[in-house]
Subunit: 133 residues, 2 copies
């Protein structure tokens, strides 16, 4: 059984050709940052036909199941990240690309006091990059 389909079985989703293709893509590289548009472009280039709605449905479903994480980078579009470890990101706006920053590449010597009655839900750190000069 395909690795992709093992994953689908584990999270209780039917192994359709569309889902398999999406997960194959995610597995292909170690860590993937993807948007719906980038993914459909990639798949169509490989002659794999799929609708945008299906891309969205599945990326969201995989995020719900904990296989991907949603990332807000800017207001353009939703990013999905296959790296589930705690980590942060560089954003290269020229290439429209994310680069992981490992959790242990940033450490804090002082962290802010959380407002009363609240707890931390998530920490988002994005360091936007531009070219030298």
């Amino acid at each position: 059984m395909l690795e992709a389909n093992k994953i689908l079985k584990k999270i209780n989703l039917r192994p359709t050709t569309q889902r398999t293709a999406i997960i194959e893509y995610i597995l292909q590289k170690h860590k993937v940052h993807i948007t719906a548009t980038k993914l459909i472009t990639h798949l169509k280039k490989k002659k794999f036909n799929i609708s945008l709605a299906t891309i969205y449905n599945n990326l969201n479903e995989l995020a719900d199941k904990g296989i991907l994480r949603k990332l807000h980078v800017n207001n353009d579009k939703m990013w999905f990240d296959s790296n589930l470890q705690d980590h942060y990101h560089f954003y290269d706006s020229e290439k429209d690309e994310l680069i992981d920053i490992d959790k242990n590449e940033i450490s804090f010597s002082k962290i802010p006091k959380i407002p009363r009655g609240k707890i931390k839900d998530s920490i988002n750190i994005i360091i936007s990059l531009k070219s030298k000069n």
Copy 2:
């Protein structure tokens, strides 16, 4: 001359009633986080009529002139921040509200190496909050 209009004069924008109203609102509190929709709702409640396009035009213009800073919080909408100091944010998703985190409330003992050929453009830190239990 109104404080708002002094600001407009300084940045070379004509003091229209719309602009004055927007800047008055920003000045009214020490630090303001707004979105276009929140601002138009506020102004209409005060019986001040203005179009959404004008709100957007002006918030963007003020951001260009360095009077406001644009903030990407999530993919919902653009935020504008009148606090020009280096700082970070809590995001209270229940109230859809931002809370400043002063620059000196966070300190880093380790910061990541910037990828070669690039320099840091901006650092965005958002700590999303949820209610205790």
